[in-house]
């Protein structure tokens, strides 16, 4: 089974969907970032405005197989940051929606019950991304046309 191709499509698809859902409401993604209470307020708006764009770009790159190793590295870093963020919110007893697919800072009182699932999903995606960092050459990738073949 082409593990690399599957990893690219799964991780890329998730990033694309997550990013596209957040693009329409930049103020909302700023609030979702703020809800974690981890970053200083001075950088919260910038992160909230940049993150959805970064997610869409990384998602498209992975789906197309464009600069797979670089994209997968960024993917690993972002997912690691999200896992830390969610775990930290959990540890501090915050009850917030992770805002992973838009929304965020939601009113759900039992938002905390989703933390284990959010973390499990992100760890799974992180492992798939790590595989692509290790083995970036995959089937049906633009990289095969742009980058020279290994001898």
């Amino acid at each position: 089974m082409p593990v690399g191709l599957v990893a690219r499509l799964v991780v890329g698809g998730v990033w694309l969907v997550a990013g596209v859902l957040k693009l329409p409401d930049p103020a909302e993604s700023v609030r979702a970032v703020r809800a974690y209470r981890l970053l200083p307020e001075a950088v919260v708006p910038a992160v909230g405005h940049l993150l959805p764009v970064l997610e869409v770009v990384v998602g498209l790159c992975l789906l197309l197989g464009l600069l797979t190793r670089v994209s997968a590295t960024v993917s690993v870093l972002m997912l690691a940051a999200f896992v830390v963020g969610i775990a930290s919110a959990w540890a501090r007893g915050l009850s917030i929606d992770c805002g992973c697919f838009g929304g965020g800072a939601s009113s759900t009182q039992d938002a905390a019950s989703a933390y284990p699932w959010d973390i499990a999903r992100d760890v799974g995606l992180l492992l798939l991304s790590a595989w692509l960092v290790w083995r970036p050459r995959t089937r049906w990738a633009l990289d095969r046309r742009l980058l020279p073949q290994e001898a």
């Binding site: 693009l23 909302e28 703020r34 405005h49 915050l94 009113s107 009182q109 980058l147 073949q149």
Partner: protein, 260 residues
Amino acid sequence: MARKRSTATRRAESEAATARAAAIRAEQERRERRRRSLVVTAVGVAVLTLVLVIGYLVQASRDDTGEAATGPRGAVGYALEVGPATAPATVTIVEDPMCPFCGDFENASRGWLSDYAAAGKVRVRFRVISFLDDTSNGTEYSTRAASALAVVLDSSGPRVAKRFHDLLFENQPPEGSDGLSDSRLTGLAVQAGATRSAVEKGIRGRSFESWVNNATDAGTKLEGYQGTPFVQLDGEPFTDYDSVDELSANLRSAVDAASG
């Protein structure tokens, strides 16, 4: 006189030379591939960085949060204030018109809070924010309702606005529905005591949308805010509860203690 080398020796030397040349060529090709990989990657990363910068700037420009916006007359900061300034306790309630727990909390607390405010025991600040716009099928009910409340406050004063605020929660639409239509909001404003002609245009045009965006931003920045309903007692987060009914009951005890 040169000694004639054997054919075998000459062949071996020739093969060694060919192998050396092939190795050099392979090394050159390897370097060339490596150089090309680096160039392609660098160009790609540069292009993508440019895309990110442009995307970031577009997102930042689409977010008007924090830009100066005129608020409604009669607002205290971002709040609709009820009860005397001399009251021994000040309760601040941050709520979204679409948030079901806010509706439950309103149902649990409206009666006693109104009585206490009328008796001078408490001053209540309702900070209506809008962060649940994506739960009304694209009609942005939270923003429409919060802006409508500001329109009513601006045109008809805090007493009518408080009644309108109560009607919003008594007629709260479920999450995931279209929310109340603009004409229904206007109808409720009239029911609360506003003049139709004074509010109709403002409600439909969302006159205070920018101010509501700022109110939302400010509300979510409050210390201890995690979601709505969020309650402060005398400026401190009030988090002594597990359910909204408990929140109402414990808040009442705390206000009782303050007015002792």
